[in-house]
């Protein structure tokens, strides 16, 4: 009834317009960046580009893709994201499955849970972690970027809360048919938990793709820097000491920075729409419980 009254209709129109403007505001900076990256160098450097390209050219992209430092970093990030996500998901889902069992079936469950939760509350901090990587001999290797992030305790809890919602009858039926724990996990739990798996995978992938700090402190060679660390050094920190001086000369232009930032964000823009329908459901199940 209420949505037929005149004041509510007026409110509705204003509300919709306001929310549409607000959501456009979330996209605008990225859109502006894209326009800068597709403009000619002179108007971009003068700050004339706003919402459409001036002197349209894809030269900046051509230069970016001719830059060997950029390409090797892109490759390092790709490897890191694929390997890191696969490893983290395998280890986390296995642990979450076991921990989702009731404590009368898996007696040590609560002990393990506390063992993990303690690390959420307390961490050794930056310096000891750095020294550990140094002592393990992982410095300057891809593993320094992958191994420390294998178990995200928050992700394990999200997954285990989801696994607990799987009907017990399914598991019972699998056991009676002769399946063991591993088979039940792979054949029943994994396929049925796709929303949760997709959500957590998205978080881990985005995390790996976006991490820059570990790359900066653990990688000594320029060709081993992941893309986010590479961009942090050249665009944000403007520290070119790690890089080839010939490359540095043509990298300081605004259009080239813009094209690099955009390409760096592109995989996330591409993956996000496909996984978005899962993650709202996944997070809600993890966060709000009866």
């Amino acid at each position: 009834m209420h949505h037929k009254t005149l004041p509510y209709r007026i409110f509705s129109i204003f509300n919709n317009v306001f929310l549409i403007l607000l959501s456009i505001l979330c996209l605008l900076p990225l859109y502006h960046l894209l326009m800068v990256s597709m403009s000619a160098s002179a108007p971009a450097n003068a700050g004339l580009v706003t919402f459409w390209p001036i002197g349209f050219t894809l030269e900046a992209y051509a230069k970016t893709f001719n830059n060997s430092n950029f390409l090797t970093s892109l490759w390092v990030s790709t490897q890191r994201t694929i390997l890191g996500t696969a490893l983290a998901m395998l280890v986390s889902t296995l642990a979450a499955y076991a921990l989702s069992k009731d404590s009368h079936i898996f007696r040590a469950r609560n002990v393990y849970l506390w063992y993990f939760v303690v690390t959420m509350l307390f961490a050794g901090g930056l310096i000891p972690s750095y020294l550990l990587i140094l002592k393990l001999g992982l410095m300057n290797t891809l593993w320094a970027l992958i191994l420390p992030g294998t178990v995200g305790v928050y992700n394990v809890i999200l997954l285990l809360n989801f696994f607990r919602t799987v009907p017990k009858d399914l598991e019972e039926a699998a056991f009676i048919d002769g399946a063991g724990q591993l088979r039940t996990f792979f054949m029943i739990y994994l396929p049925i938990s796709l929303p949760a798996i997709a959500t957590v995978s998205l978080f881990i992938m985005v995390g790996h793709w976006n991490s820059y700090f570990d790359g900066i402190i653990y990688m000594k060679d320029a060709e081993k820097l992941p893309l986010a660390s590479f961009m942090q050094t050249i665009i944000v920190q403007k520290d070119m000491t790690k890089l080839d001086p010939q490359m540095v000369a043509n990298m300081s232009q605004r259009t080239i920075s813009a094209s690099q930032i955009f390409i760096g964000a592109l995989p996330i823009l591409l993956v996000y729409p496909f996984l978005q329908r899962y993650f709202v459901k996944g997070i809600v199940i993890g966060a709000v419980k009866e």
């Binding site: 076991a98 191994l147 809890i157 820059y212 813009a258």
Partner: protein
């Protein structure tokens, strides 16, 4: 055929409890947690032993076992250090402002979004406002540094419309603080509404129907049904945020700050990075970081207790 009959026979002759036990394989569950246990042991528990360094004068050549013990020297130095008080204040200021705004704005946004009747429009708005959460601070800093530059789009706009001089958003202390807080809220408000939207979806529609029959308008329905239904979850969000008052977002500050505004912009985490890894004062930096972890631990425990007491919230 033969195998089939055999199986039937065993099923009938073995008591059910026994079959259950055989297939449940509790040892397999231990085996399944093992990789996670090992990984956490190496990368979380071993670094915890490193906090010893806070009570030593750590020398890399002597190692953690051989370095001399100095008791609370680094902590005393820390508390006598005026700069340390300044960065603690900065950290609290950033974190508290963000906590308050990241609670209020998503709350209001969720209420307004709830009034959108067109589902397609609602979903499109949601998709767009969640997006910035997934972009990294490196990407966003790159964009912000470009947009907020003296010749950037924001300053162009300001000087064209208001005719005032360019603002040093990242080079002036007060503006830097504003930029940090505003950009964080901009990035996260959409994502932070998810939890409120979930709570809204869980409200029993019968309540609204009953209210309409009783003649309650939309405003009355909002103040008497919608807002009270959101209060418990808002309390959970607020109390859990308490554990984060010493986390002012390293990634954001680190990528946007510069020596120009250390006074107003430096936070505990960026200070630990500079003192520790850049200046090599491992022991002092570890002491600062231990102080921060200790306070955070106490606050997290308190906040979880409160969330459980007031709203029955548990993490598992």
């Amino acid at each position: 055929m033969e195998a089939n009959t055999e199986k039937q026979v065993t099923l009938e002759t073995t008591p059910r409890a026994k079959t259950k036990h055989k297939y449940k394989q509790p040892w397999m569950l231990h085996f399944m947690v093992l990789p996670a246990v090992l990984s956490v042991f190496i990368f979380s528990y071993i670094p915890m032993t490193g906090i010893m360094m806070a009570f030593q004068d750590y020398k890399a050549s002597l190692g953690m076992m051989g370095s001399p013990w100095v008791g609370l020297k680094h902590f005393e130095y820390m508390f006598q250090n005026d700069y340390f008080l300044q960065i603690t204040w900065n950290t609290l200021f950033f974190a508290c402002s963000k906590i308050v705004l990241n609670l209020i704005i998503p709350f209001i946004f969720a209420l307004l979004l709830n009034e959108v009747r067109n589902m397609g429009l609602k979903r499109s708005i949601q998709t767009l406002v969640y997006l910035p959460h997934f972009l990294s601070w490196v990407t966003l800093s790159g964009i912000l540094i470009d947009m907020l530059a003296q010749t950037g789009i924001i300053n162009q706009f300001i000087s064209n419309v208001f005719g005032i001089k360019p603002i040093f958003f990242l080079g002036d202390g007060a503006w830097f603080r504003f930029t940090i807080i505003f950009s964080d809220v901009w990035k996260e408000f959409g994502f932070n509404t998810i939890i409120f939207l979930a709570a809204l979806a869980g409200i029993n529609p019968a309540l609204y129907e009953a209210a309409e029959v009783d003649g309650a308008g939309r405003i009355k329905q909002t103040t008497h049904i919608t807002i009270p239904s959101l209060i418990p979850i808002a309390i959970v969000v607020a109390t859990l945020a308490l554990g984060n008052v010493l986390n002012a977002n390293f990634d954001q500050v680190f990528n946007l700050y510069s020596p120009l505004i250390y006074q107003q912009g430096d936070i505990i985490d960026t200070f630990v990075y500079r003192e520790g890894l850049l200046s090599g004062q491992f022991s002092f930096a570890t002491a600062v970081s231990l102080f921060k972890s200790g306070i955070s631990l106490i606050l997290i425990v308190i906040s979880y207790r409160l969330a459980y007491k007031f709203a029955g919230y548990r993490i598992f």
